[in-house]
């Protein structure tokens, strides 16, 4: 069975969009702000890991 060696792939580099990035960022920031103010206490409780890990 042959293996394909993973090689750097120039096509894999997707440049950040130049199309209105500022507007996209503003939309994400607004979504995050609205979501963060809903059910924050419950979210923090649901994501607690007693005694942590390694």
């Amino acid at each position: 069975m042959s293996h394909e060696v993973l090689v750097p792939n120039e096509e894999a580099r997707t440049a950040k969009t130049e199309v209105e990035p500022r507007e996209l960022l503003n939309q994400v920031v607004e979504s995050v702000r609205r979501d963060s103010q809903q059910g924050a206490q419950a979210f923090l409780s649901e994501t607690t890991v007693p005694h942590g890990g390694e």
Binding site: N9, A12, V29, R33, S36, A40, V49, P50, G53
Partner: protein, 597 residues
């Protein structure tokens, strides 16, 4: 283990990541499933997606077809906690390990969401109660040479009787535990006949699993778990202390001092950002909790830069099952485990974190960095750097002026550039790392702002991205709202905040979807994972008894057991050999009998 590896990006590297499990129930009155039960759901979904085999290890988990592993990690099972831990296969080069890390993140996240409604994984390092977990990096390096290697090997021989005594003590603890359950049973049966079922007594004597009739990985009552943990620490303490002192004397002596200032200052581009209980912002999740340079990794509350816990586990636990594990410690090349790093979301940050560390290690082992900035107090320096988002704080050095983390990083960048230029055969990937490293340092020093936002850094450096979100959380946001931003940034779902950025095209993708999909199912080439993954793909659903760990593949049962040592494979390995006596041998029928003729 291979002899000294020369060149660039030739050493093996692997990442371990602990994911917190979030379960959001639509019925607030219902008791949520235990973390272990949620982990089992994820495993069931994982088995439907890719071939898996049971792990031959002392943790609950599986190995997957790409050669990586998934475990359930619980510091105190009886507390009901627990994490999903994913370990990538052994890779070579930052792009390869990035691809397998992303593949692991995607696969586990999809399995979590597919197995139960309301479940998702959080890829971070600290929860809202300041419990710490998260990421570890593993690099194959020269453990010791010359007299240090000789001292190490002599030390291992001298420690062996103590190891034997420790194993005997642990066996006694196990036998005492079994005797306890026998006596508890003998007491409980007449008690129940006379007094009827009593939940509290049952829970006290037997723990949740037996009393509630369900598997939750809580096999002991809480008090017994605490007692056993304390007893285990007591009986292993002489061995642990002796081993630690020996390791401090000889381990990684050529590397750890030269690498330390780089790791401490690396935080400025590899940190994921964290909001503490007082509302202050730090560059890193784990950095503020790091309290020592060397340690065993949490056993006595230590949070080290370099974790030596895997040596301790090899001596007191793994060697108990297989004496070969003890013999493997005599090798001159071992695993250097770095525990200071965070679980990055940005592909750029992940690529840089591993790529720069690999370059610095390659340069150090090639004889570069004979002179390097020596931190006067590494832990204090780390905390100072973490506490200053302006990156202007200076840290004191021995016999020279204090420097900023940026200055220290530029020193290592220049050294690595000189190392790369001195090499005849330089992979393009190494130049990619250097170019990206320089660009990142330049942007951190002089951010190219556009309308108030450090445009290039957002989506590239996690702490900058997270801080931007926090700074725009709104004047009315409470600490809980902001802490939700801190943690939900790391949620591996469409609702995760980094994922929102990524799906909007605001974060650079360094690997394509085809590469990621292939990495979920096939192992990397030229690695022990190549052979491990092959056997898993060939035998997982073939009816053969198969179990696997990092060092070996075990096929068959009883007298037909075959053990394939993976240390013999790696570079140049394309396909595993046929195993005589198994059904994969064309002369053997599926029922195990040899064909006639």
């Amino acid at each position: 283990m291979a002899s000294r590896v020369t060149g660039i990006f030739q050493r093996l590297v692997g990442l371990e990541t602990e994911y917190a499990i979030r379960f959001h129930s639509t019925d607030p009155a219902a008791q949520p499933p235990s973390k272990f039960r949620l982990f089992e759901s994820i495993l069931a979904a994982l088995r439907r997606r890719v071939p898996t085999v049971p792990a031959r290890y002392f943790k609950e988990g599986v190995f997957t077809a790409n050669g990586g592993a998934v475990w359930f990690e619980a510091e105190r099972p009886s507390s009901g906690g627990g994490l999903v831990e994913g370990a990538t296969p052994e890779c070579r080069g930052p792009r390869q390990v990035l691809t397998y890390q992303i593949a692991q993140d995607r696969l586990l996240a999809e399995c979590a969401q597919a197995s139960r409604s309301g479940m998702s994984l959080i890829k971070n390092d600290r929860d809202a109660a300041d419990n710490v977990y998260g990421a570890q990096e593993n690099y194959e390096v020269t453990f010791a040479a010359g007299w240090r290697l000789a001292v190490w090997r002599c030390g291992l021989v001298l420690l062996f009787p103590l190891a034997l005594l420790t194993w005997t003590s642990i066996l006694v603890c196990v036998l005492v535990t079994l005797a306890y359950f026998l006596l508890a049973g003998l007491f409980y049966i007449p008690f129940r006949l006379l007094a009827g079922r009593n939940e509290r007594v049952t829970l006290l004597l037997f723990g949740r699993d037996i009393s509630e009739g369900r598997e939750s990985c809580i096999h002991l009552p809480i008090w017994l778990e605490v007692l056993l943990q304390a007893s285990t620490r007591l009986v292993t303490a002489p061995l642990a202390i002796s081993l630690f002192l020996l390791l401090r004397l000889v381990a990684f002596s050529n590397i750890h001092q030269r690498l330390l200032p780089f790791l401490v200052s690396r935080t400025i581009f590899s940190g994921v950002g964290m909001l503490d209980a007082a509302g202050r912002f730090h560059l890193a999740d784990k950095g503020p909790s790091i309290n020592c340079v060397f340690g065993f990794g949490g056993i006595i509350g230590d949070r080290p830069v370099y974790s030596l816990g895997h040596f301790f586990k090899a001596v007191y636990a793994e060697s108990w099952f297989s004496p070969r594990e003890y013999a493997s410690l005599f090798a001159s090349r071992q695993r250097l485990q770095i525990a200071i790093g965070d679980s990055n979301m940005s592909q750029t940050a992940q690529f840089l974190r591993v790529g720069t560390t690999l370059l610095v290690l390659d340069a150090i082992e090639a004889g570069f960095f004979s002179h390097y900035p020596r931190l006067l107090s590494p832990i204090r320096a780390l905390r100072s750097i973490c506490a200053d988002p302006t990156l202007r704080v200076t840290v004191p050095l021995r016999r020279e002026a204090s420097r900023t983390a940026l200055h220290i990083q530029r020193f290592y960048y220049s050294g690595c550039r000189a190392f790369v230029e001195s090499q005849a055969d330089v992979p393009a990937e190494a130049r990619d790392v250097l170019d990206l490293w320089k660009r990142t340092l330049d942007e951190l020093e002089h951010p190219s702002h556009e309308e108030g936002a450090p445009q290039w850094l957002i989506g590239s450096v996690d702490w900058v991205t997270k801080k931007y979100l926090l700074d725009n959380a709104g004047a009315n946001s409470t600490w809980s709202d902001r802490k939700k931003i801190d943690i939900r940034y790391h949620e591996l779902s469409a609702d995760g905040y980094f994922q929102l950025l990524s799906s909007s095209g605001l974060s650079t993708q360094l690997v394509n979807e085809e590469q990621i999909e292939r990495a979920t199912r096939t192992p990397p080439p030229n690695s022990p994972a190549t052979t491990r993954g092959h056997y898993i793909r060939e035998f997982a659903s073939a009816g053969e008894s198969l179990s696997v760990n990092w060092k070996a593949v075990v096929i068959g049962q009883g007298w037909r057991t075959r053990i394939i040592r993976l240390a013999r494979y790696g570079r140049g390995q394309i396909a595993p050999p046929r195993i005589p006596g198994t059904h994969r041998d064309s002369n053997v029928r599926r029922d195990g009998r040899r064909k006639k003729g």
